[in-house]
């Protein structure tokens, strides 16, 4: 059997809120193989964002373990974690670009963090902008771009550090269906050419369908079902998976109508 590249064991995370505690994750275990495009799907509040944020420790779990390439992230010191994070890319629903910097500077930013010399930074950034089809926007500011273009900049930025893992936290949720499709195509081609292991968090079945090889269905902080996309789409066992498929079908019907 292949060994897992990303492995989480028994993750739990509880938030204390005003009206009692919220258990975002209840003993979640998952393994993602190298080169997988692994989807995590669930309705809002299912705990999927918390889960992905635990993979680079933006969020620290209350208990459990997070292994990346055999290394337990939770045992790393501050500085080691900081360096490891440079190779774990993340893109976000709201893009999170530096609004006061132009596109080129945004793509250069991760390389600046790593201390890459300015000339090399710019060369590489232009190369990446070409890859995402935005070489003519290098001097533009994020406020001048559309949502899809902003996400492309974020993708160019995340590739600047040549990550071995890419985490996508609802990366297409702020985009319209057509733009979503182009962004997913871009991610797919990046996966195929650069061999990056991807974890994709979404609430939309069509995102999973479009791009993922495996999927885990998350509901109320636990994994309901996990396996190949075709298997779960054709023979959903859990209530949560059935419900998500139903939502997709209704949406498709609405699209047709």
């Amino acid at each position: 059997m292949e060994t897992a590249y990303i492995e989480v064991r028994n993750l739990t995370k509880t938030y204390s809120a005003k009206n009692g505690n919220v258990e975002a994750l209840k003993s979640v275990s998952l393994s993602v193989l190298k080169n997988d495009i692994f989807g995590v799907i669930g309705l809002s509040g299912a705990g999927k964002s918390t889960l992905v944020r635990c993979l680079n420790l933006l969020e620290r779990p209350d208990s459990g373990e997070v292994f990346i390439g055999g290394q337990n992230l939770l045992t790393l010191g501050r500085e080691q974690l900081r360096l490891r994070r440079q190779k774990i890319g993340m893109i976000f629903q709201h893009f999170n670009l530096l609004e006061q910097q132009n596109v080129l500077a945004n793509v250069c930013f991760p390389m600046e963090i790593r201390g890459v010399p300015v000339r090399q930074r710019k060369e590489k950034a232009m190369e990446l902008l070409k890859k995402v089809g935005l070489e003519d926007k290098a001097g533009a500011y994020p406020s001048q771009l559309s949502g899809g273009q902003k996400q492309r900049v974020a993708i160019a930025r995340v590739l600047a550090n040549e990550p071995d893992i890419l985490l996508c936290d609802e990366a297409t949720s702020a985009l319209d269906p057509e733009t979503t499709k182009t962004i997913l195509d871009l991610l797919k081609s990046i996966h195929d050419t650069m061999g990056i292991t991807m974890v994709i968090i979404t609430h939309e079945m069509r995102v999973i369908q479009e791009i993922c090889t495996k999927v885990a269905v998350l509901d109320q902080g636990t994994v309901q079902e996990c396996g190949s996309v075709t298997k779960i789409f054709n023979h959903p066992k859990s209530k949560a998976a059935k419900r998500l498929l139903l939502i997709r079908d209704t949406e498709e019907m609405a699209d047709v109508g």
Partner: protein, 221 residues
């Protein structure tokens, strides 16, 4: 009344007012900017939450902010004497002005930096940025418009305080206004100084807002 000495006095007053305001604001930022940064980082939800540090700074700022400037001015006179050598004149006024400006600046910087979206900060953390990089590039870089507006407000406030220092011979336009207008009932001179004070505030305000707008790329068309 409008002889040469009077004109020279007014010009010197303008110079001293600029000198006091700019120097105190500068030293105020030397103390207040780090305070604002530490407040932002250590508050809950910041990137290095630390309740003790936050509370301590918070209390220090609240206390110093509640001391009326005129009282602070008199209170710190021994310190002023120690640093400057005398307790009157424009150089001496810089000491209490700086002490009054610093906590105000700390608060203004804190509120500016907290306007920066959590998302961008998180993105930088996820890229493995050092705290130093996050502070300078993300927090200060992204909040620069708001920080500049803050500088403009601080300049206006400090200039107002500097005029108050005129009561104890603080130098500058305020000093002239109080000596002539209050002690000698010379309303003419007082009004002239007032016009200058208003003009200086307007000038600083205009320059600050212009720079802030120029440096803002968030709503470019």
């Amino acid at each position: 009344m409008w002889d040469k000495t009077m004109i020279i006095m007014l010009l010197e007053g303008i110079r001293d007012t600029f000198y006091m305001t700019l120097a105190s604001t500068f030293f105020g930022y030397v103390i207040g900017l780090p305070m604002g940064i530490v407040l932002t980082l250590t508050d809950k939800g910041g990137i290095a939450p630390n309740r003790t540090v936050y509370r301590m700074l918070d209390i220090v700022i609240n206390i110093t902010r509640s001391v009326p400037f005129l009282i602070l001015l008199i209170l710190v006179m021994p310190l002023t004497k120690l640093i400057v050598g005398k307790s009157y004149g424009s150089a001496a006024t810089i000491v209490p002005l700086t002490l009054a400006a610093a906590p105000l600046i700390g608060r203004m910087v804190e509120s500016s930096l907290k306007e920066v979206g959590q998302g961008v900060i998180e993105a930088a953390v996820s890229m493995g940025a050092r705290t130093r990089t996050i502070v300078f590039k993300v927090l200060i870089g992204e909040a620069r418009t708001s920080l500049l507006v803050g500088v403009t407000i601080v300049l206006g406030t400090v200039l107002g305080y500097s005029a108050m220092a005129g009561v104890v011979g603080g130098g500058g336009l305020g000093d002239i206004a109080i000596r002539y207008g209050y002690y000698r009932y010379d309303t003419g001179v007082m009004l002239v100084t007032l016009v200058f004070i208003v003009a200086i505030v307007q000038l600083m305000q205009g320059a600050g807002m212009f720079a802030a707008k120029k440096l803002d790329h968030r709503n470019k068309e």
